[in-house]
């Protein structure tokens, strides 16, 4: 997990999917103060963009140009050589097959992780929010605490358990651990969302059908569109960006892309090929960035909406 992702999700713990009210604004005349503010914000924006700019330009440069040391210069010759190298033949540890191995591992990890983590938590959240179950209150409290437990305190036991289940060092091991670690927060998110479903709808459904599963699939799941998308985005980005679980449970065969990248940038023998490194970093960053730029609003909603509630 990235060090903020738990916190981000915890914020989502009270997600009520709602967007900030969007007031139409009056056009104001530009004052001196406005200009100063915009200039300041633009400088800050520059600060935020510089690393991205450097990474992108570096990835298109040749090593000859990089060695000249003009970090902020545009590439003399734009070349995809580094991208090709990063994707196909960069070394991660002893294997030199590029990041494509990690990319596909990440994809294979992502799919079962998503299914397991969302499946487990949506059902739990549904049962806790809409059915009269015993110990719901204490259970929620324990989940709330579990959401903040540092990974290190459960790391060794989880390694032992997954080893005993013979999934340690495989994609499945990583996926199961993702599902387990995400369960408390996602359950709280779903539970809080479902809590807002009118009680009478549940009463009607109980009188009409009475079946826990039928009500879930026919009534509740179709009503969960918003929250599902928010959670899906949250999970895709946090699983894709995860390093710690991947490196701990992936073994040699199930290492996600971030682990490949970390190996590439930290364990370097001989001359370091910075353009390869930056291309690899970009390759790793592209999937979540694409999501962010396309559905950024939902992404932000997922990580912030709940935190301000109250």
């Amino acid at each position: 997990m990235t060090h903020l992702s738990i916190a981000q999700k915890a914020l989502g713990a009270e997600v009520a999917v709602r967007s900030a009210p969007y007031f139409p604004r009056k056009k104001k005349a530009i004052t001196g103060r406005s200009i100063a503010v915009i200039v300041f914000l633009s400088i800050c924006a520059l600060f935020f963009c510089v690393p991205l700019y450097v990474v992108i330009t570096t990835s298109f440069k040749t090593m000859e140009q990089i060695r000249e040391g003009a970090m902020f210069a545009l590439p003399n010759v734009w070349t995809l050589e580094a991208w090709d190298h990063a994707w196909n033949s960069a070394c991660s540890g002893t294997r030199c097959e590029g990041l494509k191995v990690g990319f596909w591992n990440s994809v294979y990890i992502l799919i079962p992780s998503l299914i397991l983590s969302i499946g487990l938590s949506i059902i739990t959240g549904y049962a806790l929010a809409l059915w009269n179950v015993k110990w719901a209150g204490p259970f929620l409290f324990v989940l709330f605490i579990c959401a903040f437990v540092p990974f290190q305190i459960i790391m060794f036991p989880l390694i032992s358990m997954t080893a005993a289940m013979k999934v340690y060092g495989s994609i499945w091991g990583v996926a199961i651990i993702h599902a387990i670690l995400a369960m408390p927060v996602l359950t709280l998110i779903f539970r809080n969302y479902y809590k807002d479903i009118p009680q009478e709808i549940m009463s009607a459904a109980v009188m009409d059908s009475g079946s826990f599963w039928k009500i879930f699939f026919e009534i509740i799941l179709p009503m969960s569109g918003n929250i599902l998308i928010v959670v899906l985005i949250l999970q895709i980005t946090s699983i894709w960006n995860d390093y710690l679980i991947g490196v701990t449970f992936g073994g040699l065969g199930g290492q996600p892309m971030t682990v490949n990248l970390a190996n590439l940038i930290t364990i370097s023998t001989g001359t370091v090929r910075y353009n390869d490194n930056m291309a690899a970093a970009l390759l790793t960053a592209i999937p979540p960035l694409v999501i962010y730029f396309f559905v950024g609003k939902l992404f932000v909603q997922g990580i912030t909406a709940g935190a301000i509630k109250g």
Partner: protein
């Protein structure tokens, strides 16, 4: 055999007792209205019958079946909710169909019932719409339709009209009444609106504080309220309740108000022989006063007009009597002629007074 009966029902939440040893039985075809102020336990009682809540103690029978431990879907009931509780992601057709999902009916039978209910409620053109595209009245019809398709003997309504505007409410009231007459089903209907209760019910159970205060036909409840709560709760403007002392003399029983006005109650059907000097509370309905003393009169009050209110076809006048206001129903024309401050002689029709024991609050 009663259609629905509650036997010794107790419901507690922790230490809070909502219903305590409640008994109530209604016959097949009855339209029972559970009437009371909010928090009186009427909705709890309905939810217990529906199976949405569990009884703490006691037994609920529907027909000759003990349903106390049955799931809601197995009780042979259908329910209409205050907020309609339509499934927002399903079409009207889907909403009606989901109501039948517990029954393992063949597809043709399901479609037949949906068509029947849609026709009955005139919602056929709406079948493919989602609830979000319907008006309040249409949603209400769909909610009723979802109950109708189940083809059950007992329908439950939980304040179904309170989210509608006044005009629609009157319309739907009639419609529900019509449906009841047509289908001959048994209805349990919860409301806090006495007009709904008086117009629709065949039986009313007035509840307060988890206790049934009176159970009877609308007329009985209105004409002969069994205690002060029912007397004060039913009727608008409310019944005038005034302290008085009985004066029992040969051949004549009178209630004497503190100001000395005497109300003749000789013809009052006392349950027990009245005692002279007994403290009572006299209940006088606003509509049993007259401004022109014609016919037999029980008492005449000489009181000043405080103000008058016209509500279109009707009017109320308020007179100052002793320390309080006396509400009267008057003709709108007469109301217009009343001048505040002017003293008038107001008569109460003979044989219409209600008397309650001041100590117990029970009807005498």
């Amino acid at each position: 055999m009663p259609r629905v009966s509650f036997e010794h029902i107790t419901k507690t939440y922790g230490t809070l007792t909502v219903l305590d040893d409640l008994n109530l039985a209604i016959d097949d075809g009855d339209f029972l209205v559970l009437l009371g102020p909010s928090g009186c336990g009427k909705t709890t009682l309905l939810n217990l019958l529906a199976g949405l809540l569990d009884v703490t103690d006691g037994r609920i029978m529907i027909g000759d079946r003990d349903v106390t431990d049955l799931d809601p879907k197995d009780r042979g009931l259908a329910m209409v909710f205050q907020s309609y509780a339509l499934y927002p992601t399903k079409t009207v057709h889907g909403n009606l169909k989901f109501g039948l999902s517990a029954s393992k009916l063949p597809r043709e039978e399901i479609e037949k019932r949906i068509a029947w209910a849609a026709k009955l409620l005139q919602i056929e053109p709406l079948l493919n719409r989602k609830p979000g595209q319907l008006s309040g009245g249409q949603r209400q019809r769909v909610a009723i339709g979802r109950a109708l398709v189940k083809n059950v003997g007992v329908f439950l309504f939980d304040e179904p009209l309170s989210n509608l505007d006044a005009k629609l409410r009157t319309e739907m009231r009639l419609e529900i009444k019509k449906l009841h007459d047509q289908l001959k089903s048994t209805v349990v209907y919860v409301t806090h609106d006495q007009i709904e209760a008086m117009t629709m019910a065949t039986k009313i159970a007035v509840m307060n504080g988890g206790v049934i205060q009176q159970f009877g036909t609308p007329d009985e409840i209105y004409e002969r309220p069994s205690n002060l709560f029912v007397a004060g709760f039913i009727g608008s403007p409310a019944m005038n309740l005034r302290k008085a002392k009985l004066s029992v003399a040969a051949g004549k029983i009178e209630a004497v108000f503190t100001s000395g006005v005497r109300l003749d109650v000789s013809d009052y059907p006392f349950a027990h022989p009245p005692l002279d000097g007994a403290e009572v509370i006299a209940g006088l309905r606003p509509e049993h006063f007259t401004l022109a003393a014609t016919g037999p009169v029980a008492a005449t009050f000489d009181v000043p007009v405080q103000y008058a209110e016209r509500t279109g076809p009707d009017a109320s006048a308020y007179f100052r009597f002793e320390d309080d206001l006396l509400a009267l129903r008057v003709e709108p024309d007469a109301a217009a002629r009343l001048n505040p401050g002017q003293s008038m002689a107001v008569s109460y029709i003979k044989g219409k007074a209600n008397l309650f024991d001041a100590r117990t609050g029970q009807r005498m």
